[in-house]
């Protein structure tokens, strides 16, 4: 706020200041409640499923007194509400606790697994948007004819074939049979220890270090899983693009543009797509967020040490610190992408801007 805005002689500015503060406070409150609800739901669901985290730590063979002690150390002997409030207080101090499965602080685990997922998801969404949008537009232009049917068939395939199966098939064909891409994992063993881990995203790290051979290697490991995830988000994005475009193409301004004698490509790509892009943005943002959650099946098939596997494995062992930390991260990703798409929405659609 500028100094003049605080001056009482300008009542309009004060109202603006107050309303900004009020909406900021409201937003903050909403955020806090969202996080609290997210944590609460995850925590209580995690405690209701019949899993004994002490068993994960101590093992099936541990004598009874060791199990009891581990339960005490983990605070499992406390009432659920106490456990939860202690956890929230700890998070507010900036401490996500330690994972019982990896012995590491949860934050450290998240910093190790999330970049792997970000790299995969980003490559995936680039493929998904890069193919999905043109495919959707193409289908909309040729509405009811074979390109449309083909696009819908691809969408159907992308929606119904299990990703696990397609992943293995992809490995079999492109890795084992044709040798076009590298296999499971993020890097060949020969590069594993020579790449300095800065961001944790190997394409960036190898490029930063100028290790172009390792860059190529990381890229060839990334192609298949990213292509696979891209194919699945393409299926959804192309379907939505098609329907948004059909909606736009039936509007009167398109008729006007065509009547004016504009080239059809300009009508489609400049006028119609620009308007369809506004709702499409939310679709893309949410697809991206879904990829950032991590895909357990893809990560399993490709031995990709990402967030999805980390959270799933933790949940199966009742490692609640890790699960809650992961949930907070995923929640933040969704919130951030939602906010981002709101902002972009305003930029793209003049009608949503305040007068």
């Amino acid at each position: 706020m500028s100094a003049s805005a605080e001056s009482p002689s300008e009542p309009v500015a004060v109202t603006g200041w107050w309303s900004t503060l009020r909406s900021a406070t409201g937003l903050l409150l909403a955020l806090c409640l969202t996080y609290l609800g997210l944590l609460g739901a995850t925590f209580f669901i995690g405690r209701v499923i019949p899993i004994d985290p002490a068993l994960a730590v101590a093992g099936d063979r541990a004598p009874e007194h060791v199990l009891q002690r581990v339960r005490q150390e983990l605070g499992l002997d406390q009432p659920l509400w106490t456990q939860f409030s202690q956890y929230v207080a700890q998070v507010l101090r900036g401490d996500l606790g330690s994972s019982i499965l990896t012995s590491n602080p949860v934050l450290q685990d998240l910093l190790a697994t999330f970049p792997a997922t970000v790299e995969l998801a980003t490559a995936g969404i680039i493929v998904g948007v890069g193919l999905g949008v043109p495919l959707g537009v193409w289908a909309a232009i040729h509405h009811g004819r074979w390109p449309d049917h083909l696009a819908r068939l691809l969408g159907l395939v992308g929606h119904s074939i299990p990703i696990f199966w397609l992943g293995l098939m992809g490995l079999l064909l492109f890795y084992a049979q044709l040798g076009w891409v590298s296999g499971p994992g993020r890097l060949d063993v020969s590069h594993e220890f020579s790449v300095p881990r800065m961001s944790g995203m190997l394409l960036l790290d190898t490029a930063w270090a100028g290790q172009w051979e390792a860059f190529r290697n990381a890229f060839s490991h990334l192609v298949l899983p990213a292509g696979l995830l891209g194919f699945y988000s393409m299926a959804y994005i192309s379907r939505m693009t098609r329907s948004f475009m059909l909606n736009e193409l039936s509007k009167e301004y398109i008729l006007t543009a065509r009547a004016k004698g504009l080239a059809e490509s300009r009508v489609v790509w400049w006028h119609a797509l620009r308007n369809a892009a506004v709702p499409l943005l939310t679709v893309v943002a949410m697809s991206y967020a879904a990829l950032l959650e991590g895909s357990v099946l893809t990560e399993t098939v490709f031995s990709w040490p990402g967030l999805g596997l980390y959270i799933t494995n933790s949940l199966q062992n009742g490692d609640m610190n890790a699960v809650l930390g992961g949930t907070l991260l995923v929640g933040s990703v969704f919130i951030a992408l939602n906010l981002l798409s709101d902002v972009l929405y305003r930029l793209l659609d003049p009608r949503t801007r305040a007068p």
Partner: protein, 536 residues
């Protein structure tokens, strides 16, 4: 923690199809580095690197290669022991005091000297930390309040261990081969100590040993990197590095192996192992290991409590067919509670599928009309397939078997709480001595819910004072041949009356590229040796 390959079950049929399709995959050879052995293994059970705490299968193997201990099981003859750090060892005439002399000029990987003080510190530490595997030492009388008096340094390179009751010397020696008795670097750990934790917090993710390989790095759910320890006392590992990559899927492991991106695959399914067998570029190494698969019958179920019903169930399992199909390549039929290879093991195999005999037994029990049972089953292979086979054969005598599928840990929780009727499970030996299994399967003196010891016999509500006494007598027998006989007799009687049908002994298999030599698979996880491997 499944000892088996773990495909994502609901996709299992699909992946079996792929296993078949993959037979024709090309085997273009992409070499791993010449000085590095690369393995693919399911490492998701690893939760700690502290040998005083770790009790998991894959960690056990890493510890066996990176930590030395006083004695080791001889992998070529598992009934024998060889000195590791110990040059000589002896037991006093009354059998209570065990003395050890160390080899001279030992060093840790850190460069610190290794002497008797380190060994004594390590045993004290394992007992004082009192983590899961500490009971292996506690049963020798090494407990929190007494260990400092019972494990003593007697010279720069000598120490003594005093046990608190008469025990077979072989038990004492065998317990000292376990990972919990690994020798850790006292100076290094004390420098990392915080809150008097004896360095435990630090060691959970670091390394302080003297083994032939040292741990360079552990990235949870990603990899473990090991490196040759040039300070090791005897063997210099031929290869500079061993990298174990976490790969969960059997099919993924096989593709990596076929392409040469790994040298060794450790968790292949029976189908994938078939594919390896037909490939001239690949070969297998295997060993029967100290782990059994068994069917347990809860004695709290009044029908299962009848001796005739217990025996009838043992005649209703098609051991041979299951062995040749569902668990081929990864297990062998075995019906006694001591796995082959351990002292006192017995090859008795009286049971086979005999529906008529089972039907007669059930008629004797007054149950010829049949009855209902539930079975708790883990939704991984081969448990699912074996359960289905069992369901079919029980149906022939009118027993309706309802399957309670669940994630492994949930089934285990119900089993531990004695809520099951039948339970299909596996049991691995905690240390390489017959007492561990005798104690688990045949001893239960307190059958109450609040019992301090909850053995497998307890979990099935089987109270057996007479068997319990015989287990005690066998563990105290100092004469090895008499001890062997006691266990063999015990197993003969157990076989007939117990509520356990032992089905299979598991076989540890490693599939590898033909150029890998010297990989030794041992009967226990700590006796699988990676450090002698060469690549041609």
């Amino acid at each position: 923690m499944s000892p088996f390959y773990s495909p994502l079950n609901r996709r299992e049929l699909l992946s079996m199809g792929i296993a078949w399709a993959g037979v024709g995959a090309s085997d273009a050879w992409a070499a791993t580095p010449k000085d590095t052995l690369v393995l693919a293994q399911a490492l998701d059970d690893m939760i700690t690197l502290d040998p005083a705490e770790s009790f998991e299968i894959s960690t056990g193997e890493i510890m066996g290669n990176t930590y030395d201990r006083l004695l080791r099981v001889d992998p070529s003859n598992p009934a024998n022991l060889v000195g590791d750090l110990a040059r000589s060892w002896s037991v006093s005439t009354e059998g209570r005091i065990f003395r050890f002399d160390l080899k001279p000029q030992l060093r840790f990987a850190s460069g610190n000297p290794l002497d008797a003080e380190d060994v004594v510190f390590s045993l004290h530490r394992a007992v004082l930390l009192d983590k899961s595997p500490a009971f292996i030492l506690a049963q020798l009388g090494l407990k929190k309040d007494s260990v400092r008096q019972r494990v003593l340094q007697t010279g720069p390179l000598s120490l003594s261990i005093e046990i608190d009751r008469d025990l077979a010397p072989s038990l004492v020696y065998n317990c000292l081969t376990a990972n919990v008795a690994s020798v850790v670097d006292r100076r290094l750990l004390l420098s990392k100590e915080s809150n008097a934790d004896l360095g435990h917090g630090w060691l959970r993710t670091h390394y302080a040993g003297s083994g032939p390989l040292k741990i360079l790095q552990w990235r949870a759910n990603e990899l473990v990197a090991l490196e040759r320890n040039d300070n090791h006392h005897s063997s210099k590992a031929p290869l500079a590095r061993v990298i174990v990559r976490h790969v969960k899927e059997s099919t993924t492991q096989r593709l990596l192996l076929q392409k040469g991106d790994i040298d060794v695959a450790r968790n292949l399914s029976p189908q994938d192992l078939d594919a390896v067998r037909t490939n001239p570029e690949l070969k297998l190494a295997s060993a029967r290991r100290g782990e059994l698969m068994y069917l347990a019958m809860n004695q709290r179920n009044p029908n299962l409590a009848k001796a005739e019903v217990r025996e009838a169930l043992k005649w209703l399992i098609d051991y041979d067919v299951i062995g040749q199909t569902l668990v081929r390549n990864i297990a062998e039929v075995h019906q006694t509670f001591l796995p082959a290879g351990v002292l006192g093991s017995s090859a008795q195999r009286p049971y086979r599928l005999d529906v008529a005999k089972a039907r007669a037994l059930l008629a004797q029990a007054g149950l010829s009309q049949g009855f209902k049972l539930t079975i708790d089953m883990r939704t991984v292979q081969p448990y699912q397939a074996i359960t289905e086979a069992l369901q079919q054969s029980l149906r022939q005598v009118g027993i309706a078997l309802e399957v309670m599928p669940s994630d492994g840990k949930q089934a285990l929780i119900r089993y531990r709480a004695r809520q099951h009727d039948l339970y299909l499970g596996s049991w691995g030996m905690d240390y390489w001595d017959p007492h561990t299994n005798a104690d688990a399967f045949a001893r239960n003196l307190d059958n109450s819910d609040a019992a301090a010891t909850k053995s497998l016999a307890w979990r099935n509500g089987w109270q057996v004072p007479e068997f319990s006494r015989r287990v005690e007598a066998a563990v105290m027998e100092r004469d090895a041949s008499r001890r062997t006989r006691l266990y063999q007799d015990l197993q003969g009687d157990f076989l007939r009356v117990s509520p356990f049908a032992i089905l299979f002994q598991l076989v540890e298999v490693a599939a590898m590229r033909a150029h890998v030599e010297g990989l030794l698979i041992g009967p226990t996880s700590e006796s699988t040796h990676l450090f002698n491997v060469r690549k041609r």
